[in-house]
C-alpha cells in the first residue's frame, strides 16, 4: 500500500485553485456506509479489460498493479484488448504477463468499440474498464464491486473509480459534468488531493478510464457507442444508463493513478476536436426527449457555428470582409481560417451523414426511457456551463450562449437547480478575527442571501487586504484571496454560472469576464475617490464607464442611488430597455437570524450607553452630533458614549474630520474610544449598548449613500438617532425604531438625549422595533430576490443588440433611435460630465495627495511580491544566467506543461524568446511550443515541434511565427510541453521572480503558478 503517498516538499503541488473556489461537485449526495463485514459471500466474477494501442511503455506498471489485485483468482479474468498496436505490446505481454488473456482486433477500433470488443469476449459477470496508462490500488476492484453490490437494490449498475494523477497528489477524475449541448467536463481536475474524505455519490457518468459495470447490462444497452471512436462515449453511456432508470455512482475508495493523456496528448488537436464536436451532437441527439431534442439541437448547432466563427477569426480572417457594406473590393477568393473551424464543419457533417443510424439508437432509447430530461439535469453539474474557449475575445460567444438558452426557453429546464456563484468582495469579509468593512459585509450579505436560496456561493476577498493578518482569517479564504494578477485565473478555473462583483473597481482588473456578471453598485464610489483625491475625475469616470460596460446586471443599495447610477449606466452604453429590468435595488441586508440584544431590567445602577461605530472616512462628518452628545452627557452627568472606529484597515484613505474630532473627544469625560473591531466583537459591543448616535452631516455622497451602519445598529437591536435627510429616515419614523432629527438642529438632538436619559425604557421599546424593522425590511433572504432571479436565469447583455434597436419601425412609422442620454432621472442626482466643476470646494481633498497614495500602493505591491518570492524559490533551483538569478523549472515531461500568460502591448506579435534549461545533459525529447489566446483555450494560434538534442543550458530560443496583426492590448498564452519526454530525458525553461517590461502570469500544468518564465517578445520580427 502506498496510499496516501508521503508528501514531499519538492513536489508540492503548484498553486492550485483552492477548495473554496472549486465548483461544487455535480451529483446527488448519496452517502452509503459500506461496512467491510457485510461483504457478500458470493463475489461476482469480473473481467478487467485494458484497451491498448501502442502503449508498450505503460503496460508494465499497469499490469504489475493488476497482478497485486486483492480479488479471488478464480473470480478474476485479466484481459488486454490490443487495438492493432504497431509496437511490441503483444510480445511484451506474452513474455511478462503470460496469464493475461490477450484479445486482438484487426484494426484500431477506437476506444468505444475496442472496449466493447473486450466486453463481448469477457467471461466475468462484471467488466472493469481500465486505461492502459494507469495503475491501481490492490483494493481497487474489491471496493468497486462492494459498492455496486451494496447499491444494486437501488438500481446501481455501474461505478467509477476515483482517479488521481500519477503521484496521487492531484485529482484527475472525481466527478464528471456535462453541459446542455453535450460537452463533458471534470470540475475537480487538478485539485490538490491529500487523502481528504470524498463521499460516495451518484454521478451522471463513470470515467471510461476506470470503471466497473454489469457486463450483461452493458452489452444490452449497446455498450459504448462505437460511432464515437473516442471521447465523450462515457458521458453518453452514463446518460443513457440514467435515462433507462439505472444509477451510476462514484466509489471514492477505489483508487486509480493516471498519467494524464498518455495517449490523447500526442494527438493533433484539430483531429480530436472533430470527435469532441461530433460526439457531443451524437449525445444530445440520442438522449434528449422528443419535446426538447430539436430545440436543443438547434441551439447546439448555432453555438457550434459561433465557435467555428471564433476559429475563422483565429486564422486571421476579419469578419468585416463578410460585411455587405464593406466598400473594399476583395479579389482574394479564399480566407485563412484556423483548422478547428474546418474540424467543426467536418464534425457536423459527419453527424448529418450518420443521422439515420443515430436515429435508430435514439428510438431504441426513447422507447425505453424511465427518467425525464428534467430529472437528469440535476446530475449535469452545470447544465448551462459555457463551453470555454477564449475569454479574451469571446464576449460574443458567451452572450450568444446565454441568448440561446434564454430565447429558446432552454434555461427554464434547469432554473430550479442551484447555480455556482463567485462573489468578489473589494474588501475584508466578515470572517475570521479581523475587522470587516461595510463593503465586505455587503458582499457577504449578497452571497449569504443567494446561499439561502440554495446556490453554491464562493467568496473571494483581496489578498492585499488581509496581508500580514493571514493567521486571523480561515485558511480557505487566505488561499482563495484574489489579486489583480490572479483574479482572471480564479474565474477561468471555476467557470461559475454567475459572477457577482461588489463594486465596479474589482472588474477594472479583468477584461470582460465573458460570464454573466452582476455588479453591485454599493455606493457612489466615484465621489469617494474624489474625496480621497484619487486621480482626477476624468480618468476615474472613464475607468468607471469601462467597468460598467462589462456588467450584465446591476444592483444598487438604495432608490436614490438607482437614479444616480441609471445616468452612469446609460453613459456606459446600456440601453434604456435594459435599464428598467437590469438595475435593481437591494438595500443593505442583514442575516434574518438576529443577535440577542442585552437589555437591562434595572437601570438604577447603570448608565445609558450611547455608541458610534465605523471606519473613519473623509466624506463623513459626525462631529457636530458627537460633540453635542459629549457635551450633553457631561452636563447631565449621566450616560456614556463609546466611539468605535479607526482609519481604513486596507485602503489608504484619509480620515477627514476625524483627526480633529478625536482630539476634542479625547478630553470629554463621558466619552471612551476604541479601535476597529472584528465583526463578531463589534456585534458584541452593539448588543450591549443602548442607543446608536447615527448622526452625520449631509453632503453629495451622504445623500446618495445608503447608511449601512444604520442597518447594522437596527439589526443589533439598537434604536438610532438618525438624520432626517437620509433615505431610511422614514422607515425609522414609521417603525419608531429610533428618533429622527434634523442634522443641524442641535437643540432637538439635545432634547432627544435628555428624554432617553430620563426614560431608558423608551429606548428599549424602540430597540425592539429596530430589530423588527431590520427583519421585515432588510433580511437578506427577502432583499436578494432581484439578484436571485438573475442568478437563477443568468444572461449576458449582447453588445450587438442595440444596433438593431436603433432601426425599429414603430407603429406610427417613425423610427425610434435609442438615445441613452435622454433618460429622466429626478433632478438632483444626475451627475453630468461637468459635475466636478460644480462641487470644487466640497470635493477638495484634505490630505490625499496623489503621489503619497501611489507610493503606498507601490509599497504594498512590492510587499506582496516579497511574500511570494520565498515560496517560489523553495521549489526551483537557482542558477545565474546573464548575471541574474534564475530558477530552472521542473523537468518538462509528458503530461506536464509550462506556460505563461502575457499581455501584448503592440500589434504584430511575431515571436517569443525564452531560456532553455537542459539540466546539463543532452536530451532526446522533443519540445512543442504553442501560442494560444489564453490558458483556458484549447486551440493553438501557432505551434512548433522542435528537437531538443542540440540545446545548450542557458541558451535563448526564439519561437517565431507570422506576425499576429491585431495583437495589441490582448493577452496571449505561451505554453511548452514535451509529450515524449520522461524524467532524466527532458528539458525545461528558466524562470525568475519578475519580468521587466512584460506583464505576465506563469502557469504550470495549466494552473496559475508563482514567478515568471524568463521571456521576451518580438513584434514584427523586432525584439521588444
Amino acid at each position: 500500500m502506498n496510499y496516501p503517498p508521503e508528501p514531499s516538499p519538492i513536489d508540492e503541488p503548484s498553486t492550485s485553485i483552492p477548495d473554496i473556489l472549486t465548483p461544487a461537485e455535480p451529483g446527488l449526495e448519496r452517502y452509503t456506509e459500506t461496512d467491510p463485514d457485510s461483504v457478500p459471500v458470493a463475489l461476482p466474477s469480473v473481467t478487467v479489460v485494458v484497451l491498448n494501442y501502442n502503449g508498450l511503455k505503460h503496460l508494465d506498471a499497469c499490469y504489475k498493479s493488476l497482478r497485486e489485485l486483492d480479488y479471488p483468482v478464480d473470480k478474476l479474468e485479466l484481459m488486454m484488448v490490443d487495438n492493432a498496436s504497431r509496437d511490441t505490446s503483444l510480445s511484451f505481454m506474452r513474455d511478462n504477463f503470460p496469464t493475461v488473456r490477450l484479445v486482438e482486433t484487426n484494426q484500431n477500433l477506437g476506444f468505444a468499440a475496442g472496449n466493447n470488443y473486450g466486453a463481448e469476449r469477457a467471461k466475468g459477470d462484471y467488466v472493469a474498464f481500465l486505461n492502459n496508462d494507469t495503475r491501481v490500488e490492490p483494493d481497487w476492484l474489491m471496493e468497486m464491486v462492494k459498492s455496486v453490490l451494496a447499491g444494486r437494490d437501488e438500481g446501481v449498475v455501474c461505478t467509477s473509480s476515483l482517479m488521481l494523477d500519477w503521484t496521487g497528489k492531484k485529482i484527475d477524475f472525481q466527478a464528471g459534468g456535462v453541459n446542455f449541448h453535450g460537452f463533458g467536463f471534470q470540475p475537480s481536475y487538478g485539485k490538490p488531493f491529500s487523502g481528504q474524505e470524498i463521499k460516495p455519490r451518484d454521478l451522471l457518468f463513470a470515467c471510461g478510464g476506470s470503471m466497473l459495470i454489469d457486463r450483461k447490462l452493458f452489452l444490452e444497452v449497446g455498450g459504448f457507442d462505437p460511432d464515437y471512436f473516442a471521447f465523450f462515449e462515457d458521458v453518453d453511456l452514463g446518460w443513457r444508463l440514467w435515462a433507462l432508470g439505472h444509477k451510476v455512482t462514484l466509489t471514492p475508495t477505489a483508487i486509480t493513478y493516471h498519467r494524464h493523456h498518455g495517449t490523447a496528448g500526442s494527438m493533433s488537436e484539430h483531429r480530436t476536436y472533430v470527435l469532441y464536436e461530433r460526439n457531443a451532437l451524437y449525445t444530445i441527439y440520442k438522449n434528449y426527449e422528443e419535446s426538447h431534442v430539436h430545440t436543443i439541437l438547434s441551439a447546439a448547432l448555432l453555438l457550434l457555428g459561433q465557435r467555428a466563427v471564433r476559429f475563422i477569426q483565429a486564422g486571421g480572417t476579419e469578419l468585416t470582409d463578410y460585411d455587405f457594406t464593406n466598400p473594399e473590393q476583395e479579389p482574394e477568393p479564399t480566407s485563412n481560417i484556423h483548422r478547428n473551424a474546418v474540424a467543426a464543419l467536418l464534425a457536423v457533417n459527419e453527424f448529418t451523414d450518420n443521422l439515420a443510424r443515430m436515429r435508430e439508437k435514439r428510438e431504441w432509447l426513447q422507447a425505453r426511457r424511465r427518467r425525464t430530461d428534467v430529472e437528469l439535469f440535476s446530475l449535469f453539474g452545470q447544465p448551462g456551463r459555457v463551453n470555454w474557449i477564449n475569454h479574451e475575445t469571446d464576449a460574443t460567444y458567451t452572450a450568444t450562449h446565454y441568448e440561446l438558452l434564454n430565447e429558446f426557453g432552454i434555461q427554464n429546464l434547469w432554473s430550479h437547480l442551484p447555480k455556482e456563484v463567485l462573489v468578489i468582495s473589494p474588501d475584508v469579509l466578515p470572517v475570521g478575527d479581523i475587522p470587516a468593512s461595510g463593503s465586505g459585509v455587503r458582499a457577504w450579505a449578497l452571497g449569504k442571501g443567494l446561499e439561502g436560496h440554495g446556490h453554491n456561493v464562493h467568496f473571494t476577498m483581496p489578498a492585499p487586504a488581509i496581508q500580514g493578518r493571514e493567521g486571523s482569517v480561515p485558511p480557505e479564504y487566505v488561499a482563495g484571496a484574489w489579486t489583480t494578477e490572479n483574479l482572471q485565473s480564479i474565474i477561468d478555473a471555476m467557470v461559475p454560472d454567475v459572477i457577482v462583483s461588489c463594486g465596479w473597481p474589482n472588474v477594472t482588473w479583468t477584461p470582460r469576464p465573458n460570464l454573466p456578471l452582476a455588479i453591485d453598485l454599493t455606493g457612489p464610489h466615484l465621489l469617494e475617490r474624489a474625496y480621497q483625491g484619487y486621480r482626477d475625475v476624468k480618468t476615474n469616470s472613464a475607468e468607471k464607464l469601462a467597468a460598467l460596460a462589462k456588467g450584465d446586471f446591476f444592483t444598487c443599495i438604495g432608490e436614490r442611488q438607482k437614479y444616480y447610477f441609471q445616468a452612469w449606466l446609460a453613459q456606459a452604453g446600456i440601453s434604456i430597455d435594459e435599464l428598467t429590468d437590469d438595475l435593481q435595488v437591494i438595500p443593505y441586508s442583514v442575516d434574518p437570524k438576529q443577535p440577542k440584544h442585552h437589555w437591562l431590567d434595572d437601570w438604577s445602577n447603570s448608565e445609558v450607553r450611547f455608541v458610534y461605530g465605523g471606519i473613519f472616512l473623509p466624506w463623513q462628518n459626525p462631529a457636530p452630533a458627537l460633540l453635542t452628545v459629549a457635551d450633553t452627557l457631561e452636563q447631565a452627568g449621566r450616560g456614556t458614549l463609546e466611539v468605535i472606529g479607526g482609519s481604513h484597515p486596507f485602503y489608504p484613505v484619509d480620515t477627514g474630520v476625524y483627526g480633529p474630532l478625536l482630539e476634542k473627544l479625547a478630553s470629554a469625560r463621558r466619552v471612551s474610544m476604541s479601535g476597529l473591531l472584528p465583526h463578531d466583537r463589534l456585534i458584541e459591543k452593539y448588543t450591549h449598548a443602548h442607543v446608536a448616535v447615527d448622526m452625520i452631516m449631509p453632503n453629495v455622497e451622504r445623500e446618495l449613500a445608503f447608511p449601512s451602519r444604520t442597518i447594522n445598529y437596527l439589526w443589533c437591536g439598537l434604536p438610532v438617532i438618525h438624520p432626517e435627510f437620509s433615505e431610511v429616515a422614514h422607515h425609522i419614523s414609521d417603525y419608531e425604531a429610533g428618533w429622527v432629527v434634523k442634522h443641524d438642529d442641535s437643540e432637538a438632538l439635545r432634547n432627544v438625549l435628555i428624554s432617553i436619559l430620563a426614560n431608558p425604557e423608551e429606548a428599549h421599546r424602540r430597540g425592539i422595533n429596530a430589530q423588527r424593522l431590520a427583519r421585515e425590511r432588510f433580511s437578506w433572504d427577502d432583499t436578494i430576490i432581484a439578484l436571485e432571479e438573475f442568478v437563477r436565469n443568468p444572461r449576458m447583455r449582447s453588445e450587438r443588440r442595440s444596433l438593431l434597436d436603433q432601426e425599429k419601425v414603430s407603429a406610427t412609422g417613425v423610427t425610434t433611435a435609442t438615445a441613452a442620454v435622454q433618460t429622466g432621472p429626478p433632478a438632483g442626482y444626475v451627475v453630468p460630465d461637468t459635475w466636478d466643476k460644480k462641487l470644487p470646494a466640497k470635493l477638495e481633498p484634505v490630505y490625499g495627495k496623489r503621489r503619497k497614495l501611489t507610493a503606498q500602493i507601490g509599497a504594498r505591491t512590492s510587499g506582496l511580491l516579497r511574500v511570494l518570492a520565498p515560496r517560489a524559490g523553495s521549489r526551483m533551483r537557482p542558477v545565474s544566467v546573464d548575471g541574474q538569478m534564475r530558477y530552472a523549472l521542473p523537468e518538462l515531461i509528458f503530461g506536464h506543461s509550462q506556460g505563461q500568460r502575457f499581455y501584448s502591448t503592440q500589434n504584430g506579435l511575431s515571436g517569443i524568446r525564452f531560456v532553455i534549461s537542459t539540466f546539463g545533459r543532452r536530451n532526446m525529447s522533443r519540445l512543442v511550443l504553442h501560442i494560444r489566446p489564453n490558458p483556458g483555450g484549447s486551440y493553438d494560434i501557432y505551434s512548433v515541434n522542435l528537437p531538443t538534442h542540440s540545446f545548450k543550458d542557458g541558451q535563448t530560443v526564439a519561437f517565431r511565427f507570422p506576425p499576429i496583426a491585431d495583437s495589441a492590448n490582448r493577452w496571449f498564452y505561451f505554453v511548452a510541453d514535451s509529450p515524449d519526454a520522461v524524467p532524466g530525458d527532458a528539458i525545461s525553461l528558466y524562470a525568475g521572480d519578475r519580468l521587466e517590461g512584460l506583464t505576465a502570469q506563469r502557469y504550470e500544468d495549466g494552473l496559475p503558478a508563482e514567478g515568471c518564465i524568463v521571456m521576451s517578445v518580438e513584434y514584427n520580427g523586432v525584439r521588444a
Binding site: N108, L302, G813, V944
Partner: protein
C-alpha cells in the same frame, strides 16, 4: 376563421393615392432612367408621389435630384442602412394610401400601376400586396413571375403556381407567397402595421419574410403578371463580393424560418436548415478541405501553422451563423409578435411554397443528402400539409398507354402530369384526363425543364432517362420497367405495381 386584422378596401375600384418609394445608392444614371419611365405612367399624376430614399450615395445623386426633380420627395440617410431600412423610411414619410416599392435600376411599363391595382381588385378583400412581373433588361428573360420558396425559406423568383395543368406563369390575382421587393405594391397602413421590412435583413429575402408574415397575419399577396418592369441594372448587389451576398442569403433565410413557423415545426425545420447549411459550407469548399487531414488515424501532416485556406463563399455559410446569432434577440421578439397575432396556420401557408425540398445547392450529392436528412428528421410529416406531391411521368409516345397506366395509379395521392416526348415541336399539346394532365412536348421545349424543375419526384422510362433535362434533375428519380439505369442515383423499379412507386420519393432517401 377570417378574423384577420385587414383593412377594408373600397368596393368599387378607383384611382388611389400611391407613393412610389425608390431606395437608391450610387446609381444615378439608372435612377434617372427609372424616374423617366415614371413620367409616362398611365395613372393620374396628382395621385402619384415619388419618394427617393438615398442610402448615403457618394455620387451626385442628391444634388441632381434637388436640381432637376423638385417634385421628388428626397429622404437622405447618413449611412448605408440597407434596402429594408431605406424602404421603411420611405414608407414612413410617404403620404399615399398605397406604396409602390421600386428598385432604382428598374423601368416600368406605362400600365404598371394600373395592372397592380387590377390584381388587387381581382383578388378581393384580403389582398393587400401585389407583385409585378420583372423582365431582364432586354425583356427576353423573366426574372420574376410569381414567387416560391423551399421549406427553408430560400426564396425563388418563379412560382410553381398552376403546375402541372398550366405550366405557364400564374394569372392576374393568383396568390403568391411573396412579392419581389424590387417592384411591388402594398397598402401603406398594413405595411406599417405588420412592421414593414425587417431591418435586420439589410438586404435579400426581406421580401420573402414580408410575404410570409402577411399570409400568417391573414392578408393575401397576389400576382399582377401584366404589371411589367424591366430590370436594367441588376448590379447593386454584385458590386460586393459573392461571399458577402451569401452571408446575407444564408442568415436571412434562417431568420425567416425562425420568425414565421409555428412552434413545433420551427425547431425541427431550423435544425434541419442548419445541418443543410453546414452541408453547403462543406460541399462548396470543394477540394480545399481534405477530410483525411482531420482523421485521428491519418499520419501527421506538416501544417504546423494550423491554418487552412478556404473559399470565401464556403466560409460565408459559417459567418452567416454569427450574423444570425447577432440578430437572435430581435428575431425572437419579432417571432413572439407574429406567433401571437397569426391567424393562418403553417398548413394554410405551405401550399404556396412550391417545391418543399428544392435544393439550395446544385449537386446531386447535396440533394440526396437533403432528402435523407428530411426523412430522418421527419420533415416529410410537415410537408404532408403541402399540396399533394408533384409527380411527373416522362416517356415517349409509343409508351403512351404505359404512362397513362402509371398516372392513373398515382393520381389519387399525388398531383400528376405526363410529359410525352414528341420529336416534332409542332405537335405540342396539352390534354386533360381524369385526375392528371398530359403534355405532348418536344424535348427542347423550355416547359419540359420547368415541369421537371418543379416536380417533387420523377418517374421515367429508360428512354426518357437519357434526356439531359432528366439527368440534371435534382428531384428523386425512379426508372420503371428497367433492370438498370443510366442515372446512378435513380432507383430502378421493375414492376410498376410496386408499392414503392406510389410513394417512392420518401424511400429513395
Amino acid at each position: 376563421m377570417d378574423t384577420g386584422p385587414f383593412f377594408d378596401l373600397p368596393e368599387t375600384p378607383r384611382a388611389r393615392q400611391v407613393s412610389i418609394v425608390i431606395p437608391t445608392y450610387n446609381n444615378l444614371s439608372l435612377l434617372l432612367e427609372c424616374l423617366g419611365s415614371l413620367r409616362l405612367l398611365d395613372y393620374p399624376a396628382e395621385l402619384i408621389e415619388i419618394v427617393v430614399v438615398d442610402n448615403a450615395s457618394t455620387d451626385r445623386t442628391q444634388a441632381v435630384l434637388k436640381d432637376r426633380f423638385p417634385y421628388v420627395k428626397l429622404v437622405t440617410l447618413d449611412t448605408n442602412t440597407g434596402f429594408a431600412v431605406a424602404c421603411n423610411k420611405g414608407a414612413a414619410v410617404a403620404s399615399g394610401e398605397y406604396i409602390a416599392f421600386l428598385n432604382n435600376d428598374a423601368v416600368v411599363d406605362p400600365g404598371w400601376l394600373k395592372a397592380l391595382f387590377a390584381a388587387l381588385d381581382a383578388a378581393g378583400g384580403k389582398a393587400v400586396c401585389a407583385a409585378s412581373r420583372i423582365l431582364s433588361h432586354n425583356g427576353e428573360e423573366t426574372e420574376y413571375d410569381g414567387a416560391a420558396s423551399n421549406l427553408f425559406a430560400a426564396g425563388r423568383p418563379t412560382s410553381v403556381w398552376g403546375w402541372p395543368d398550366n405550366p405557364e406563369a400564374p394569372s392576374t390575382g393568383s396568390p403568391v407567397l411573396f412579392a419581389s421587393g424590387g417592384a411591388m405594391l402594398i397598402h401603406r397602413a398594413t405595411f406599417l402595421d405588420v412592421g414593414g421590412f425587417d431591418p435586420a435583413y439589410f438586404a435579400y429575402f426581406e421580401d420573402v419574410d414580408l410575404g410570409w408574415r402577411l399570409w400568417a397575419l391573414g392578408y393575401d399577396v397576389v400576382y399582377a403578371p401584366d404589371a411589367t418592369v424591366r430590370h436594367i441594372g441588376g448590379a447593386t448587389g454584385k458590386r460586393s463580393g459573392s461571399h458577402r451576398r451569401y452571408t446575407l442569403w444564408e442568415s436571412n433565410s434562417l431568420a425567416t424560418v425562425l420568425k414565421n413557423y409555428e412552434s413545433g415545426n420551427m425547431e425541427r425545420i431550423l435544425s434541419a436548415a442548419l445541418l443543410l447549411q453546414y452541408k453547403r459550407a462543406l460541399l462548396s469548399a470543394g477540394d480545399a478541405i481534405k477530410p483525411a487531414d482531420y482523421r485521428l488515424s491519418s499520419p501527421p501532416d506538416n501544417n504546423v501553422s494550423n491554418v487552412e485556406r478556404m473559399p470565401k463563399v464556403s466560409v460565408a455559410h459559417i459567418v452567416a451563423i454569427d450574423r444570425f446569432n447577432s440578430m437572435l434577440p430581435h428575431l425572437m421578439e419579432e417571432r413572439r409578435t407574429i406567433q401571437a397575432k397569426r391567424v393562418r396556420s403553417d398548413a394554410e401557408i405551405l401550399p404556396l411554397l412550391g417545391r418543399a425540398f428544392e435544393p439550395q445547392y446544385a449537386g446531386t450529392q447535396y440533394a440526396d443528402g437533403a432528402r435523407a436528412l428530411a426523412s430522418t428528421l421527419e420533415l416529410y410529416g410537415i410537408s404532408d400539409i403541402l399540396s399533394p406531391n408533384r409527380v411527373l411521368i416522362v416517356g415517349t409516345a409509343d409508351e403512351a398507354s404505359y404512362l397513362k397506366d402509371l398516372a392513373s395509379r398515382l393520381k389519387d395521392n399525388n398531383r400528376v402530369a405526363i410529359v410525352q416526348i414528341s420529336p416534332k415541336p409542332s405537335e405540342s399539346a396539352s390534354q386533360q384526363f381524369d385526375g392528371y394532365t398530359q403534355h405532348t412536348l418536344d424535348a427542347a421545349n423550355p416547359i419540359v425543364v420547368r415541369l421537371i424543375g418543379f416536380a417533387d419526384a420523377l418517374i421515367v422510362t429508360p428512354t426518357a432517362a437519357q434526356l439531359d433535362a432528366v439527368r440534371s434533375a435534382s428531384a428523386p428519380i425512379a426508372v420503371v420497367g428497367a433492370s438498370s439505369s443510366s442515372i446512378e442515383r435513380a432507383i430502378a423499379i421493375n414492376d410498376p405495381s410496386d408499392a414503392r412507386v406510389r410513394d417512392f420519393w420518401r424511400i429513395s432517401a
